[in-house]
Amino acid sequence: MSLQSLTAEIYSLFEKEKYDQCQVLLAPIKLELIKHNLLIPTPANTQTKDQLNDLKIAQRILEIGALSSLLTNNYSGFENYFAQLRPFYSNGKLHNLNKVHVNTDATKIISLYLLYLLSQGLISKFHIELEIIYNSNHYDVEQDKYLAFPVHLESNLMEGNYIKIWKLLKEEANLPCKEYTHFIDTLITALRFEIAKSLEKTYESIPISNCKNLLYLPQEQSDAAFEKILRDTFEVDNWRFENGAIYFTKNESELQVDNESVIKNVLGYAEQIESIV
């Protein structure tokens, strides 16, 4: 099949939300793109207007690839497509890099990638991306509804302002586009995990019903079911469930002075000093 017909087909499949079929179609399309030297923008293939147009189509195809992999839970695929899109987004001939572009498909994909990094807990990668975004002229984080979302999410997460995150995640109207719903569940689990870890350090004990509230779990849930969920998902071995309350045992072994290390250190110093004298 020629590239044109393949492109037309994948466009229509994507419109009809048949993402599985999109995935199937993407492999041959990418082969065609390589044959036409369109998979990567280089100085050689960004000369004429026609070439630029072709490259824009190639970019769209890759974007479809990224979105459809995401929606079919193919995360490594999503990461791959994002890596392939990167040279497109930073190419000065395809996009005017000195003008601010807001709410574009590009920022949408980037912000989805940021969310992906957050949901996986890859904070340092998240900040590396952020560094690039803040330092390019063509992104404006505060004005861009797509980019602002993960950035606010992260800063609230770091502050511990969990209630704001909960509100952001829970109301669909807050989400800039439907693809975000995909991450909600993972993010909520991550959020609960964070809260649980804070709880065990903060309280000596807490009534179960309050704990349910704090973790945003439904009140109707039976205590046993609640306990089971906690034990399954959030590593809560030192939580004791007694009489409708939870007690947290703290490990306090650190206060002991351990003699062995003292001896080891002192011997080390002696050795060094001997070599000096």
Binding site: N135, S136, K164, Y203, N210, E254, Y269
Partner: protein, 480 residues
């Protein structure tokens, strides 16, 4: 008429002065040529260090005397030498009368050291004259020239030449095209154990990546390459500075802090390196704040133009979110110029944490509602989460009573009953010991069999001068 006469007289004396300066300069450069020749024959790189010590002042003089370099070049190269033609084209030709009676050494072959040094001088000259496109053209030729040599005595000069090659690309805003050449150069230098050039190229690559904000690439590079241990202090300082930046962005603040401190300590303590020390200090302030420490007031007094950082520190210290927001807005451009904006904006959470810490120190028991009001937070519920996060991060020692809605600070622990002083002590002792060991390693011991020769060949005064040159290192790069 008298006026014109005086004018003529003035002109004459001026010309005389110029002429003598001119002769001095020619002489100076030629004596450095003979030093380079010595370095080549004796394989002692200290002579090159000595030449480079004089490069800084020489550079300024060259920029003021347009005719010196062309004369040097015509004197050095025989008429049919290929380098002569293009070098003269770049630095400007001499009128016939000027290339007069100075003896030319056309007969003997030119030592590569001298040849490369002349190219370096041409680079410096073009850079000072802001003839960037010519310099860029010259870069390509010099890279080719360097590839054709393989002599250890060239290492120091090569390291410098690379610096200017990259500098011009940076000024032209053309950061991508030089990368392959740099990587190729790095490979060759590493294979030849050419320590100076390896170190120099690594720092240049890191700088290149960081200018593009390509942290991924930079951290990949750091992972893969091994920075030579014995590289010059100036290069080591730079390398640590870049490491600090990379680590800070990757949220590894304690490593970043170690690196930035090392960078400041290793940086040469002369006025030439002021700019470097300043930006390193700025970075270290931000990193310290991110780690939850407050930098000493002394730091701000030592430097000028630290207002933005001083105000940020104040906002963090007071735990005042509103003030922090104002400062961030007011000095946004300053922070962006220093490339610290993203790091500074991460401080928001620290502001809240310090606020909580201050409250927990002042009150042994306080209701969540009061905390909420004091810190301008949104609601009581969010306060509870934020306080509990602070407890978890070890910012404060406290517990929350959920039913009654208050925070209770724990009794202050006596630090001397813990292992903390001991570990702190241990760290300091280890630092002192390693400092001692390093200084022992850094001393130069002459080989036993060379001993007699050395004392004869190198005069005592010369030895001292060489040592001085090494001590001061090559600081010239820091001027930019």
């Amino acid at each position: 008429m008298a006026d014109t006469k005086a004018d003529v007289l003035m002109k004459d004396t001026e010309e005389e002065v110029n002429a003598s300066v001119f002769q001095d300069l020619i002489h100076e450069i030629e004596s450095s040529f003979s030093l380079l020749g010595k370095a080549a024959s004796s394989f002692d790189n200290r002579y090159i260090s000595k030449v480079f010590r004089d490069l800084g002042p020489l550079r300024r003089k060259l920029a003021n005397n347009d005719k010196v370099l062309p004369t040097i070049i015509t004197n050095l190269y025989p008429a049919n030498h290929p380098s002569r033609e293009y070098l003269l084209r770049f630095v400007g030709n001499v009128e016939k009368s000027e290339s007069m009676d100075v003896e030319s050494e056309n007969g003997q072959a030119i030592v590569p050291e001298v040849e490369l040094y002349v190219h370096l001088l041409a680079q410096v000259y073009l850079l000072d004259k802001e003839k960037l496109s010519e310099l860029n053209e010259l870069s390509d030729i010099v890279i080719g020239l360097m590839k054709s040599f393989n002599r250890r005595s060239l290492d120091f000069i090569q390291a410098k030449v690379w610096f200017y090659v990259c500098r011009v690309k940076e000024l032209l805003g053309d950061l991508y095209t030089i990368r392959p050449e740099l990587l190729y150069g790095l490979r060759t230098a590493t294979l030849r154990h050419d320590i100076e050039t390896t170190a120099s190229i690594i720092t240049l690559l890191l700088r290149n990546y960081l200018l593009c904000h390509d942290i991924n690439q930079a951290s990949n590079l750091v992972e893969k390459v091994e920075f030579p241990e014995n590289a010059g202090n100036a290069l080591v300082a730079r390398y640590y500075y870049y490491l600090a930046r990379i680590n800070a962005i990757q949220l590894d603040y304690s490593t970043a802090h170690e690196c930035v401190i090392a960078a400041i300590r290793k940086a040469p303590q002369t006025h030439l390196a002021k700019g470097f020390i300043q930006s390193a200090t700025k970075l270290s302030i931000v990193i310290e704040l991110l780690m939850g420490d407050i930098p000493a007031l002394k730091v701000f007094k030592e430097h000028q133009n630290f207002e933005p950082y001083f105000n940020v520190t104040r906002a963090v210290r007071l735990g005042d979110l509103k003030l922090f927001g104002e400062v961030l807005k007011k000095y946004e451009t300053n922070f962006k110029n220093d490339d610290n904006f993203t790091l500074v904006s991460r401080l928001r959470q620290n502001v809240i944490k310090t606020g909580i810490r201050i409250i927990s120190l002042s009150y042994s028991k306080i209701s969540l509602k009061d905390i909420c009001i004091k810190l301008h937070l949104d609601s009581e519920e969010s306060t509870e989460y934020i306080v509990s996060k602070a407890i978890r991060d070890g910012v404060i020692e406290a517990t929350i009573n959920h039913q009654k809605g208050y925070m209770q600070s724990n009794e202050l622990l006596d630090v001397y009953s813990t292992k903390l002083p001991q570990t702190e002590f241990d760290q300091r002792i280890k630092f002192c010991l390693s400092l001692h060991n390093e200084s022992v390693k850094a001393m130069r011991y002459p080989n036993d069999n060379d001993k007699q020769n050395v004392t004869k060949e190198v005069e005592a005064s010369e030895e001292i001068e060489l040592l001085k040159a090494i001590e001061e290192g090559d600081l010239d790069d820091f001027m930019d």
